[in-house]
Symmetry: C2
Subunit: 114 residues, 2 copies
């Protein structure tokens, strides 16, 4: 409203985090795996790539093609890394959630406190 700011989508947030954790080895397939392994969320590989493309278009990540002659079959990998802008968005998103959650975790869990 006020400013046309744009926020990180829920899945974008997750993809960004997977990518950071993977470091040098972050590319489509590993990102997908990382998400699946960590939180048991199995998304299609297409979903991952689409999100990756959008994040890059927004300047939150950048990519570079892998080595020309890898020691195995298959097309070359496209590696991704987060940009400073990406890190900012991430911290921003985290901060907001933190503030929104602040203080209301225990109460809402059980409900039977006294």
């Amino acid at each position: 409203m006020g400013n046309k700011e744009t926020y990180l989508g829920e899945f974008e947030h997750i993809v960004l985090l997977a990518l950071i954790r993977l470091g040098k080895d972050a590319y489509g397939m590993t990102i997908r795996m990382e998400i699946d392994e960590r939180i048991g969320r199995s998304v299609s590989i297409g979903a991952v790539y689409t999100t990756l493309e959008r994040l890059e278009k927004k300047g939150l990540i950048l990519s570079q093609m892998g080595e020309a002659t890898p020691q195995r079959g298959g097309k070359a990998k496209k590696y991704f890394e987060i940009t400073p802008a990406g890190k900012e968005k991430l911290q921003e998103a985290r901060k907001s959630m933190e503030i929104m959650w602040q203080g209301l975790n225990p109460e809402m869990l059980g409900g039977a406190c006294a």
Copy 2:
């Protein structure tokens, strides 16, 4: 993919949290204000209502109309509260984010560590 599970959207998540914090006084206008005050995000009131409607349709919140004759001008309020299903989704979403963030907060902040 595997199961057609549905996740809480980023804004849905925020609306749900605002609603919980407001307790008995959670309705369109106050929810909007709460979000603005807490995290400085000013969304239109329409955005809030649309999200509220969708959350209700999904069974994550429920509503009831306010008193018939309030002591002031204007239409009756519609109060919202979260359902157990809503709480579950919320905890689920929080848990996933927690796991994804686990361990990589300090490193990604500065970058100038050595």
